[in-house]
Amino acid sequence: MGFFEGLLFLIVTVLKVLLIIVPLLLTVAYLTYAERKVIGAIQVRKGPNRVGFAGLLQPIADVLKLLTKEVLVPTNSHRFLFLIAPILSLAPAFAAWAVIPFSDTAVLADVNAGLLYVLALTSLGVYGVIVAGWASNSKYAFLGAMRSAAQIVAYEIAMGFALVGVLMVSGSLNLGDIVRAQEGSIFHWFWLPLFPLFIVYFISGVAETNRAPFDVAEGESEIVAGFHVDYSGMAFALFFLAEYANMIMIAALAVIMFLGGWLSPVPFLPDGMFWFFAKTAFMLFFFLWFRATFPRYRYDQIMRLGWKVFIPVTIVWLSVEAVAILLDIGPWFDIRKT
């Protein structure tokens, strides 16, 4: 590849990236709106309803407000790390979208090791939290960072094991191939044969994104706001953006690996991108529902759930699955074509 061909390739790729990032940002904005509306409905109140029709312009107003606020840097903080931490948490949250297949053909980078790539990038998000907590030079922020680090390391293992189960039945690390292995109807999707792993994966995903009821890293009532207590204005908004982008990411991955991605649930309806978005929205609703319903976990209970419940559950189910694959139990486990 010559230099100019490479340059052209770069420009086309950047345009494709924008085609993913801009709708993603809009989705994040309206996910915050949806969250406030849903939680409002659950708590029998109206939620935002003043800015625009039915409060639809509320996210725009929030963004404008955050943009005009000053970004304060505490005097005793580590200035460079303090400013780079929000970017460290946002960049992996966006970069992971490169390998997500929206439909059979719509994928930015159709790489072979797509699942590993996603796992690697989601594990990087914790640096934003740790660096922010340390660089702020504040006790509360530091406590939040420490909690987050321990929690993410614990739940990443359960999450990784749950994904190993998906690899075993699909026989591929490519996210597109994983979806293609679920062809058929709603009963061919992996949520049915891998139900325990599906549950473990999704709950670990909620824990990884530091969402309620696993939001001890923020813990307003104990450590004020955790790792981002010293952040204001746009720097704070970036942390928020990363959290919501990660939520959508986890929901999209759950859809791809357990709910058949872009495949339609019944054979007589056509497959398409629409199904992917509908299922992702369905999974996202659970995040909001959890937040409105469950009280925050105590820290030692989080650790117990991760290490002593989820990891044994995944290991047991992996053994069950291995036996099922060995015995060629159809229609899910007869993947040994060679």
Partner: protein, 233 residues
Amino acid sequence: MDLKLLVFWVFSLVLIGAAVGVITTRNPVQAALFLVLAFFNSAIIWMLMEAEFLAITLVLVYVGAVMVLFLFVVMMLDINLLPMREGYSKHLPWGAAIVVAVVVQIVLLIRVKWAGSGLEQPAPKPAEYSNTEELGLAIYTDYLFQFEVAAVILLVAIIAAITLTMRRRPDTKYQRPHEQVQVQKADRLRVVSMNSEDNQDLTGKVAKAPVDAGGDAGVAGNAGGTTNQGAQS
């Protein structure tokens, strides 16, 4: 100039810069973060060499897990760097000699390999070639025994680390979650029937409350705490 070569140079320079940063910076947290940067850049260089699996595993294992725990420890410890820096000039000649020896060895090795065996640049594999699959096949068929031995050694290391750090203190209080989950309503709640205020003698003598369960006014008494804390190991 080739775009790939440009990418290689950019990332190798950042890699070398980060590696130098690890040993020159005075702040241990900064040093750990420089090491993260170095890992990340070497992963990208592996990626350029079409070793995607190794590159991603490097990020996943070292950057995503090992360095997080490293940072965790480094941030918690109050490391005093001054005693460590004592004798810096005394050890400097030795250190420099070792570095020179290592560099000379590496250069000699690469030159001998290249010059002696006439190795060519391997041809790029086709796009559908998956080195994840090849590695898996190699590890689980040809090198299964070595792989198992490595796994057992790691297991021994885990058990050793746990036994070294586990201290049972007699005064530590533990929870027993299985007991907490199995608690019934009857263990914690006592319903006491007593007469309502209307039937009581207002002169001061309280009418004797019937103890049978037929009364309509129940008072919920919470006997004991709500959690089953204090169970000792």
